[in-house]
């Protein structure tokens, strides 16, 4: 979406206009992302209202320790990517690159921890459509909880994966010296994207991990 050189693309009058268009475009895109995930949150609200006990029971199935760890990892990654942007703004380079690499590694760590969770779910047979062996009166409605949990976390995981690739690319571009204190729009909008991925998880965490813990 964004041009690859510090010179502005020919449809723009100057670099400032290009930068404005790119950041505003990213924010608009993030609004669409909120609505993509929003459908899942809306379905969650409806079904949790209809089946509160099943959702509490399903939520107790999730691994609170790993979930909290994942949240901490993502929050930290938001911190590191923000620092990377700051370093570039102040004219830095090497530090920014390593911060981006660290962010990407935290993203991979998030995915790895989630993989561990999925594997445990598979062994516990709570993956609807693949291996689901819950019984009892709550089983059908709990199935809804797990379907939403899987669709949401997989879709979020897809976003994390894209984000990791994007951050790795940005690290490479920082290393190559593509950005300066005056021109770093691609890095800035990649960071915005990463923060949104974080925000989505911030809402996923209490809704899927913290219900029915009391």
């Amino acid at each position: 979406m964004s041009p690859t050189t510090t010179r502005h693309a020919e449809q723009f009058d100057d670099a400032a206009q290009q930068r404005e268009a790119a950041t505003f475009g990213m924010w608009t895109f993030l609004a669409t992302e909120i609505l993509f995930f929003g459908v899942l949150f809306a379905a969650y609200t409806v079904f949790r209202t209809l089946w509160p006990d099943a959702f509490a029971s399903g939520s107790r199935h999730t691994d609170l320790l790993l979930g909290s760890l994942e949240t901490a990892v993502l929050l930290t990654s938001s911190f590191t990517v923000a620092l990377a942007v700051r370093d570039i703004q102040l004219g830095g380079r090497a530090m920014a690159m390593w911060l981006l690499v660290a962010t990407a590694i935290l993203g991979v760590a998030f995915l790895a921890i989630h993989g561990v969770e999925y594997y445990a779910d598979y062994k516990a047979a709570v993956i609807p459509g693949i291996r689901y062996e819950e019984v009892g009166s709550l089983a059908p409605a709990k199935q809804l909880f797990f379907v939403l949990y899987y669709v949401t976390t997989l879709f979020h995981g897809l976003h994390v994966t894209i984000g990791v690739l994007l951050l790795a690319l940005m690290a490479r571009r920082v290393r190559r010296g593509d950005f300066s204190a005056d021109e770093y729009t691609p890095l800035e909008i990649s960071a915005l994207y990463w923060h949104l991925v974080d925000i989505v998880w911030v809402f996923v965490f209490p809704l899927y991990y913290l219900v029915g813990r009391s």
């Binding site: 609004a31 909120i34 609505l35 901490a72 911190f79 700051r86 703004q89 923060h195 219900v211 009391s214």
Partner: protein, 97 residues
């Protein structure tokens, strides 16, 4: 647009705030507080999102169109949830589960 960025210390403060909010939400979830449990998690999530939006994403200095764009996603999601729930919540007293 190229205002001087906040210090590393301020970034650390933001991270610490987020960590504190995370710990609080996990902690609070373990107490039996009735309906408050339902609202505590999402409410703390809103606070965390605010920290990320306003500190890390610099929404406050982003200009009016950007603030509009950020609001629109959330507001439209609220429309979707509110009107849909309007149906479900008023449906149940009629005896349809």
């Amino acid at each position: 647009m190229n205002a001087k960025p906040p210090s590393t210390g301020a970034h650390l403060m933001a991270l610490a705030t987020l960590g504190f909010l995370l710990a609080t939400s996990v902690f609070v979830a373990h107490f039996h507080l009735g309906a408050f449990n339902t609202f505590a998690g999402p409410a703390i999530a809103v606070l965390k999102a605010m920290v990320i939006l306003f500190f890390f994403m610099k929404l406050g200095t982003g200009g009016v169109p950007i603030r509009f764009a950020a609001c629109f996603g959330f507001v439209w999601l609220l429309i979707l949830i509110t009107l849909t729930m309007g149906d479900y919540l008023t449906r149940m007293p009629l005896g349809i589960r």
